[in-house]
Symmetry: C2
Subunit: 317 residues, 2 copies
């Protein structure tokens, strides 16, 4: 099993710089007063394609040889990775095939097509997804870019923390959401080299707390179909992301659905940022565990802003 | 009638700097492609109290002598000026009395109180508002800070364009919404001195187009009670703002309610910015008049982000 190295992350950063934004870091005196901490928000919701995932996807796409690139790339994802891979493939001018469940929101499908992605639909089950994906990959010969368990993707996500540490001095803690663990792994990869003193905290929905339980148990526990409003965080850890989580994460904190929705709404109201439910999870866990963060300088990765404005969670109750 | 000078704006900037944010300027390749223009968005939705109005309000509050300040300030407003004046007065530690219609949203009243403002309610009519306000002012002796027809307020709003011109080179056009005309007047005050080559365009809802009709007629036309989703733009021009509009504005463009809502939603989706309906009006008029803006470098003032997240306009249809 190849584990990406610090040099892989540095190479990734050079490779993807023309295709990504160096996103800004924002602060909020309101949230600082509320928490007693100094919070710094790295706004990957302003990133190309609306999420940090474009970092890893671009690294995979632009790292291909011309020969391999000609066959295109493929993946399965119903979310930001599908968008990001389509965006990156479009920039390189190569095909991108995406397997998405037919139940995925039309808006998400339209956005993938808008970036030039080609969608093949599957039933909303793991069996169907794997079957359909195997067929698409065999037919196209495209390079499979896994949403998170891919060393190129992890190295790409690690560039976010590298920028963050250039933008803010003296962080004590770094908090990011955890689903499959791609962003957290990239964060571990980078910080364990350039700032090992920064503690890394992962935040997870209570209703999809497989990473939390894995962390406590000491081995990967995968749930079949967790249900949470934080739809980017439903997937389980895999062996590469488990490597980073088990070696470098200090703690995993969880928040309830109501706490996630409240944190999301409060951020929209106070910071005027459109963020998706998944990236409200870190703030929800900070608000719930203030004593852990008070007096500290805390980096928070705002992972993405792709949300269905017609289906806002606080309007569904 | 005292018309604020360029020196007043420079003095205002020095005075308010400790109390305001130098807000960032964002760009969007999506909107650049859509319009054929190069658009620069000055994000006053990230401003203290969530809107540009804190510039003028802070200038008025911090320009008072200690003796006058002791009596506090007062105003009538159901919107961002009430919030901003309460914020500024709170920073100086002096009372702020605000007359608001009893029909104003509870969320707005709570926000004013959150900043320390004292609310006196009136009926939702001009007669009631003036009667109640006269009483409050007589009782408190507070300094009246008009929401826009006040030289201190206009000088304060002018600081926004000064920052903008430091942040972006070579603008051809500057677009801002127009209601009472405070922001547009400040923009005229500053640009007519430091960048007279920049054309100033004001944007207005079709359903509250009194400034447009005034501009065409050559004198102030005031409507009694226009109805528009852009609730910050319902008020009429007054003599000081008319002075700037009639002397320095190049054109006034209008947009329909549907166009305003579409531009607002598109900005949330694509730029991940929470902006209020009033500040979607400039973008709506740009999308409607692309030929005026294509090939140009265009500054857009995103005036504020105080919106009721439970009452989003695209969910009310």
């Amino acid at each position: 099993m190849y584990i990406p190295t610090f040099q892989d992350m540095l190479d990734a950063h050079e490779r993807i710089k023309p295709h990504i934004h160096r996103t800004p870091v924002l602060t909020s005196s309101y949230f600082n007063e509320l928490t007693g901490a100094e919070l710094f928000f790295k706004c990957e919701n302003f990133q190309k394609a609306g999420a940090f995932k474009v970092r890893g996807a671009s690294n995979a796409v632009f790292g291909l040889s011309d020969e391999d690139a000609a066959k295109g790339v493929c993946t399965h994802s119903s979310g930001n990775h599908a968008l990001s891979l389509s965006y990156a493939a479009g920039r390189r001018g190569i095909p991108c095939n995406v397997v998405m469940p037919r139940t995925a929101p039309e808006a998400k499908k339209a956005a993938v097509r808008g970036y030039g992605g080609i969608i093949t639909e599957c039933d909303p089950s793991t069996t169907s997804r794997e079957e359909v994906f195997a067929k698409v990959q065999a037919e196209t010969g495209g390079d499979f870019v896994h949403p998170y368990n891919d060393p190129r993707v992890i190295a790409g996500q690690g560039t976010c923390s590298r920028e963050f540490m250039e933008q803010v001095d003296g962080l004590d803690l770094m908090v990011a959401p955890i689903g499959g663990g791609g962003m957290i792994s990239g964060t571990c990869l980078t910080l364990s080299h350039i700032a090992p003193e920064v503690k890394i905290i992962a935040s997870e929905p209570e209703q999809a707390d497989d990473a939390y339980r894995s962390f406590k148990a000491g081995h990967i526990i995968a749930d079949d179909a967790p249900q949470t409003i934080a739809d980017g965080l439903k997937v389980p850890l895999k062996e590469r992301t488990w490597h980073f989580v088990s070696n470098h994460v200090s703690d995993i904190l969880t928040a309830s659905e109501d706490e996630i929705i409240a944190a999301m709404k409060l951020t929209w109201q106070r910071m005027k940022l459109v963020m998706e439910p998944s990236c409200a999870v870190p703030l929800a866990t900070i608000l719930k565990n203030k004593e852990m963060f008070a007096g500290k300088r805390v980096g928070v990765i705002v992972t993405g802003g792709n949300v269905d404005l017609d289906m806002l969670p606080w309007m569904l109750n």
